[in-house]
């Protein structure tokens, strides 16, 4: 069974009395262990698709199964649980809490998973070491470089051991050298068997994945391997 299964998915936004079709009739299967890119220009609907896949939003119509659960009509609490346990997010702008130190930032998802304090610290520390930040645990995000921030974000996304990792333009705020290092982390995660979904507008970044989905005007227009 597929990890993610979308069938006839559509999303319509209502602005005043105008309807805006952000996505229409999306059919997509993602298997466990895939490294997939979603590519499209800005306004193509790729972010909307990403939000749906990331359980930050629900579709207007269609079927959406993630990890075997039908989430098309899920409640807020059910979505929160999936976000917490099954999904890790990496954002373009890192989205770290500036007031918290590195280890507390990484441990954030564990708080909402109800993991006890000592275990939380141990797991967060391990995740920090895994991304090469074992010596920056007490620093706060404003004291770190962009690449280090993104590594903290990756550690946070992985700390609860999710099945899927979503990355939304993960190198968008980084210089190309640092970006390469971050992309190498995704490569190695894929090699270790993690499902990785990369959202980008840059074909050269998408080329690192094994399968590329191209989106235009809310529909999948092309699907190919690089």
């Amino acid at each position: 069974m597929s990890l993610i299964h979308l069938e006839g998915l559509s999303k319509v936004y209502r602005v005043g009395d105008q309807e805006i079709k952000a996505l229409s009739d999306i059919n997509l299967r993602i298997e466990e262990g895939e490294f997939l890119s979603i590519i499209g220009s800005s306004g193509s609907g790729k972010s909307t698709l990403m939000h749906l896949l990331g359980c930050l939003d629900t579709p207007t119509t269609g079927r959406m199964e993630i990890c075997g659960k039908d989430l098309a009509k899920a409640t807020g609490d059910e979505l929160a649980r999936v976000r917490n346990r099954e999904i890790g997010f990496v954002f373009q702008s890192f989205n770290l809490l500036p007031k918290l130190d590195v280890i507390s930032n990484i441990a954030l998802p564990l708080i909402y998973a109800g993991v006890p304090h000592a275990q939380r610290l141990a797991r967060a520390k391990q995740a920090a070491v895994d991304v090469g930040l074992g010596d920056r645990l007490a620093n706060r995000p404003p004291q770190l470089s962009g690449g280090q921030c993104q590594r903290v974000a990756i550690a946070r996304a992985l700390v609860n051991n999710p099945r899927i990792l979503f990355a939304d333009e993960p190198t968008g705020n980084l210089d190309s050298a640092t970006g390469r290092i971050i992309l190498e982390i995704f490569d190695s995660l894929h090699a270790a068997g993690k499902t990785v979904v990369l959202v980008t507008h840059d074909p050269s970044i998408a080329a690192r994945s094994r399968r590329i989905i191209e989106i235009q005007d809310g529909s999948i227009t092309r699907e190919y391997a690089p």
């Binding site: 807020g76 929160a80 954002f91 609860n160």
Partner: protein, 433 residues
């Protein structure tokens, strides 16, 4: 997410904005401190008046006081002789439930020692021996006035502690017994000296040598008294002959009676009322004033004070609550992105709701702690500026009540911001700059 984490997040948020939080706490601090201080002061008044009442004769004492007759009796009002010695005699003879009757006439005049010295004005009171029981007097030295003193009309006097201290400042009460005093230049022999009556706080002040002269002393009247036999008073300072056959002509300044058994308090009052109805020829120009009535009056004024204090506190707490709501709203609009991040990593709406609510309750809780400290200072200030004799009683009840109300204000004012925060859409929040 458990409570402990929510509290630690809240504390971090508060310590990150100390000044802002302190300002928003101000209303709560004022509300709590005024509530605690009012409760402490009124508690002190109540406690003090209860003690004072016991000292002044307890619940058994009842005063017969005169009053304006009601309008229906107005035409007959002059048929009644008013409060006279006949009332006292009639009660003494006929009222079974009354154990003691103390009629009193008094006037103020100069008192001096026979050796000269400056005379001082004191209140001279002609009394019967029952006065010592009803007034709960104690002797420092000598003896009380006896029925024989009344019968013979002796020139004996029992004086209060302050009088003895003024007239013979350098002798003990024992040595002052037998001395002669001049009351309006008539000589009297001092046969007894009363103990010093004082409130506990006075005793403390006296011991520590602090000045307390400015303060009101409820026992002053009792300490500055000069007591002589009722009959002697009449012979010496009134008409001369004691008109035994017409007691009605002797008007009284004070008439106090003591109920023998509190279990029969109401029947005793009814009995006295019916006797006085006879002696007053049916004119209701008298009232029986019990200590309970007196206490109820104090209680009523204490309640009024308490109510106005509570009202001020309630307004302060309301304002404080609004202040907290304001700060929480400001805080969440500053933290939209943080809330979005928390939602994205798996926080449920209710986690956000509780986090904001607990933060709001924390602010009010810290405010109420500050308020309790402030109330201690407020009580000291009130003690210094008001001539109250009553030590404020800081009760746990008052503190719990105040903290309870403050927490409620915090809870109530946190509801709306918490609901608003938990309804933030994660996608918009993550894009929010």
């Amino acid at each position: 997410m458990n409570l402990f984490i929510a509290i630690s997040i809240g504390l971090r948020e508060i310590s990150a904005h100390k000044f802002r939080t302190a300002l928003s706490m101000l209303g709560i601090v004022l509300g709590v401190s005024s509530l605690v201080a009012t409760m402490a002061l009124t508690g002190g008044i109540e406690e003090g008046s209860r003690k004072f009442m016991q000292q002044m004769g307890g619940l058994e004492s009842v005063s017969v006081v005169s009053r304006e007759p009601s309008s229906s009796d107005f035409d007959f009002a002059n048929l009644s002789p008013g409060r006279t010695l006949l009332d006292a005699e009639a009660i003494r003879r006929s009222a079974n439930f009354i154990s003691h009757v103390s009629p009193e006439i008094s006037f103020s005049t100069a008192v001096a020692t026979d050796g000269g010295g400056n005379p001082e004005r004191y209140s001279i009171r002609g009394i019967y021996p029952d006065h010592f029981v009803i007034g709960m007097h104690e002797l420092a030295a000598g003896r009380y006035l006896t029925p024989l003193d009344i019968e013979r009309g002796t020139r004996c006097a029992v004086v209060g502690d302050s009088v003895a201290r003024y007239l013979w400042p350098n002798t003990t009460p024992e040595k002052a017994i037998g001395n002669t005093i001049l009351i309006d230049s008539s000589p009297f022999t001092v046969v007894g000296i009363l103990s010093l009556y004082q409130m506990e706080s006075h005793a403390r002040a006296r011991k520590s040598g602090k000045s307390f002269s400015r303060r009101w002393d409820p026992f002053r009247q009792k300490n500055e008294t000069v007591l002589i036999p009722f009959t002697t008073m009449f012979y010496e300072f009134r008409s001369g002959a004691f008109p035994l056959d017409s007691l009605e002509t002797i008007k009284l300044e004070t008439l106090t009676i003591r109920v023998g058994d509190l279990d029969f308090f109401r029947p005793a009052l009814d009995e006295v009322r019916s006797i006085l109805n006879t002696t007053h020829r049916g004119v209701d120009d008298f009232d029986l004033e019990t200590r309970q009535d007196w206490f109820d009056r104090i209680e009523a004024s204490v309640r009024a004070t308490r109510l106005s204090g509570a009202l001020i506190s309630a307004i302060s707490l309301l304002v404080g609550g609004i202040g907290i709501m304001n700060i929480m709203l400001a805080s969440i609009s500053e933290r939209v992105r943080e809330i979005g991040i928390r939602l994205a990593v798996g926080a449920r709406q209710r986690d956000i709701f509780w986090q904001i609510l607990i933060e709001s309750i924390l602010v009010s809780f810290l405010g109420s702690l500050l308020g309790i400290f402030a109330s201690l200072g407020l009580i000291e200030i009130l003690k210094a500026i008001s001539p109250t004799e009553n030590v404020p009683v800081l009760s746990a009840d008052a503190i719990l009540l105040a903290v309870g109300f403050a927490l409620f204000a915090g809870l109530f004012s946190g509801l709306y911001p918490a609901a608003k925060a938990s309804n933030i859409d994660p996608i918009t929040a993550l894009r929010y700059e």
